[in-house]
Point group: C2
Chain length 511, copies 2
């Protein structure tokens, strides 16, 4: 068999059965191999950033990597922003990138580019398989590397002659290490810190699933420690019958205030929190200088197990989660509180909420705590344009569950092509397009640097003139859509959209 | 003044008065500076690839660089594919990228990425201005580096503290070198080769303007040398009353045939032609092993002057260009020949034709030779998704001229957001969307590797199911649009679109 076929057979043997693809000429042999090797679901994206963002969303829900298939050089470049996001979200992802034939690249053909140099900054593992014989082994190692906790991007670059050449050898799966167990000493030390008072558990990553969240709440109830979640998390289990947790605010002032008075900040699967950007005269870290920062578990360690053992060691009694039901759907004007309440009231059971709502979504989090149980996925790496692809991939990775994609309009435009893939694959995605027709975040940021708006900033932050018409855009990509300007019409559309199969987009006009 | 203001004032002093922008938080001080420094036209793009592709199109027509303004890390990454194209087209471009504050980056905030590592492969010049005092000087050097023949990308990375810090110094323009003059010896040697028979002048870059093309035809008439143009050229002057030139075919077989029997291939501003991709058992270079390849002028040398001197040295008499008028508009079914004839018949005087038509546009070139005089801009670097941005930037760079954007549907989807910028800026662009609803190039490429279509390739090459509705997509982005399924309706729409101000899109359904 040729190298390409060994790649397809190895991926399948290693459990990678989904491929988000935007191939080009240098990938033709792999496409031909996919035609010969049944069992891999190919999902076409019309832009590489859709493919990489969808692979991220898939992995968050399926708990295993998908493959991407990207074209050499500039094709990879188009996928980098969402690979950056996936890296920050610590998801497993096997990133397959075609490249020029090894003997053709030195001629510097027009599409030749530094594929490896572009891939390196986002890749936990990177290899160019230059011989057909090396492709299968490299693919198996890529899957292992991607899946090794906490998860990362394994980029396999495949020159076309390694793809078409004979001598490929399919490989079986390699053993993937389990998350490392936290040492007893760290449990004991954390118990001591929590008992000393003024402590906070700062939770991120896998510690935001329902079970570790419950353990954290037991610990908090027993010790008086406070709990807080990282601002942007890859996947949180929320909703009715589950324990809620506040998030660290995005803005530096409120974020600093939230951590005021904390003597011991104990990280559980989260990073030491830092501001997205520097602002003149403001600190960069959220933890105050007098706060001692320690870790119970690092990303890649078993934080859920550590929290369970910590709760036992503290003798923390079981407690029951709050059982408040959701509010009624709101009526009248479109506000963040009203939207949050309406989403909480009408969210389908076991929905997957994907939120890249930026400014208008800040206020949705609190009221949605009482919605039906759901997973809550957020953009993590800060590169906008991940929401629609993430929702697309999550729907592929969690079949049978409704995906609710809460999306800011400005961010949506970076990867709007994802709507077509939702239509093509008939994915059960309800998109709530928050149409404020501004880069509203930049209004905040300009004010934060102390400047008043002038002609350039007015030009650069305004998405109106002309207004984007999301009903026509979605329709053009094959997704049915409608517009809502009041909460009543939104509630009607949202309930109806969630009952029907396939995608639907609601343009919610923000006054 | 702060660093950001010194940047704005320096750019303006150096003649850079147009900025294609998609800024983020780290660029707020530069945006605030643009508000204080009048004279720079800011054009908002909804995606960075639109900004970089538009800067390319602007430079091709204006003959000087525009600036981009991109967000740190992933924002730059989104612009890389069209920066790759701009690099291959050898256009001048000042690429301004914000970045994390120097003291904040070590905290590794979520958006931190290896901005310089990503920029390096596309940049002829690259600098991070880490101090406010260094920004003005770096900006002046960036403009000089970008403008130095043949033109290239100068990337200036601007950490936000260098932007907001006081101490900035505005600089005046630096002297830009003229294109190097070709030595007399090279002229004499080329004259000798051409007289020896079986020679071909292979023209690219600036040698494809009307004046050097006329000189090349004089030379050909006097010596019997053949003429051929590079396959993809940044800007060619064509049409009624100008000399036409055949292009090297894209496909390897016809390309090899076109260069058969050539003993001396003389490059004039073009590279030694190589195939886009390797194919098993096929050569990678178009020149045959027995062909000697030499250069009259390299990119960055004054090829127009060299051709004029060569014609004089050969005593080549003046000749008149053919004065054939255009054919009548075609009727009936939509074919490449019919479309080419109709475009030739109806093209406005001094139009700027931007062509990223891929497979369906191969047949347009020949019939369009007799159209009204026009500039003809093509995608050069092979990264698809440059056409709509290129047309957008060309319209900004050539005010008063109609831009005709001949665009393949699959490629258009990578940077479809460009349509909104055309609407926002009321640009005189007529887009001819070639809607074949396939990645037709990949059908060819799959056949070229000897494979038959199967389920994966059928999934991955088909843009139907659902069909993209370009009239709705364009309308959603604020561009009026209509659909044509016959040549008659296309001709009516095309003539009307070119008469009205502002953008219009015609979806031409390819049977």
């Amino acid at each position: 068999m040729n190298g390409a076929e060994s790649l397809a057979r190895t991926l399948l043997a290693c459990g990678v059965d989904t491929c988000f693809a935007n191939p080009g000429t240098s990938e033709m042999h792999f496409v031909a191999a996919l035609d010969r090797v049944p069992g891999i679901r190919c999902v076409l994206a019309l832009f590489e950033g859709v493919a990489t963002g969808a692979a991220d969303g898939y992995a968050r829900m399926a708990g295993k990597p998908a493959a991407t298939l990207l074209h050499c050089g500039p094709g990879l470049a188009n996928g980098l922003a969402n690979l950056h996001n996936a890296r920050r979200a610590r998801v497993p992802l096997v990133n397959i990138v075609g490249d020029q034939a090894t003997y053709h690249a030195p001629l510097d053909p027009p599409l030749a580019a530094e594929t490896a140099a572009w891939a390196r900054p986002v890749s936990a593992w990177l290899r160019t398989a230059s011989q057909p014989e090396a492709v299968g082994e490299a693919a198996a190692e890529a899957v292992r590397a991607a899946s090794t906790p906490p998860g990362g991007i394994a980029t396999l670059i495949l020159p076309s002659d390694a793809s078409w050449g004979e001598g490929g050898v399919a490989q079986g799966p390699l053993r993937v290490p389990a998350p490392a167990t936290v040492a007893d000493a760290a449990i004991a030390e954390t118990a001591r810190l929590l008992r000393s008072g003024d402590a906070m558990l700062f939770l991120g990553g896998d510690a935001l699933r329902a079970q570790p969240l419950a353990a954290a709440h037991r610990i908090a109830a027993a010790t008086g420690a406070r709990l807080m979640a990282e601002t942007f998390s890859a996947r949180m289990e929320r909703g009715h019958g589950r324990f809620a947790i506040d998030r660290l605010p995005y803005n530096i002032g409120p974020g600093l205030a939230a951590l005021a008075g904390v003597r011991h900040l104990v990280l559980v699967g989260a990073d030491d929190p830092v501001a997205f950007f520097a602002y003149p005269g403001q600190p960069g870290r959220f933890a105050h200088p007098e706060t001692a920062v320690t870790a119970l578990s690092r990303p890649g360690e078993d934080g859920a197990d550590a929290l369970a053992r910590l709760a036992e060691r503290l003798g923390a009694p079981d407690i029951a989660p709050p059982m408040d039901g959701p509010p009624a759907p709101a009526s009248g004007a479109v506000t963040q509180q009203a939207l949050g309440e309406t989403l909480a009231a009408l969210l389908p059971e076991q929905a997957v909420v994907v939120e890249e709502g930026i400014t208008f979504a800040f206020g949705l989090y609190a009221p949605m705590a009482t919605a039906a149980p759901h997973d809550y996925l957020r953009h993590v790496g800060g590169a906008i344009g991940v929401g629609l692809p993430l929702a697309t991939g999550a729907a592929v990775g969690a079949p049978g569950r409704r995906v609710v994609s809460i999306q800011a309009d400005g961010s949506a435009l970076y990867t709007v092509q994802a709507l077509w893939t939702q239509a093509r694959e008939r994915l059960d995605v309800t998109t709530v397009m928050l149409s404020n027709r501004r880069y509203a975040i930049l209004d905040h940021e300009l004010a934060a640097v102390g400047a008043a708006p002038g002609p350039a900033s007015r030009t650069l932050f305004d998405l109106g003139n002309p207004d984007l018409d999301w009903v026509r855009i979605a329709g053009g990509f094959g997704v049915e859509a409608a517009r809502a300007e009041t909460m009543e019409s939104f509630a009607d559309l949202f309930a109806a959209a969630n009952r029907r199969p396939g995608p639907f987009l609601i343009e919610l006009v923000i006054p």
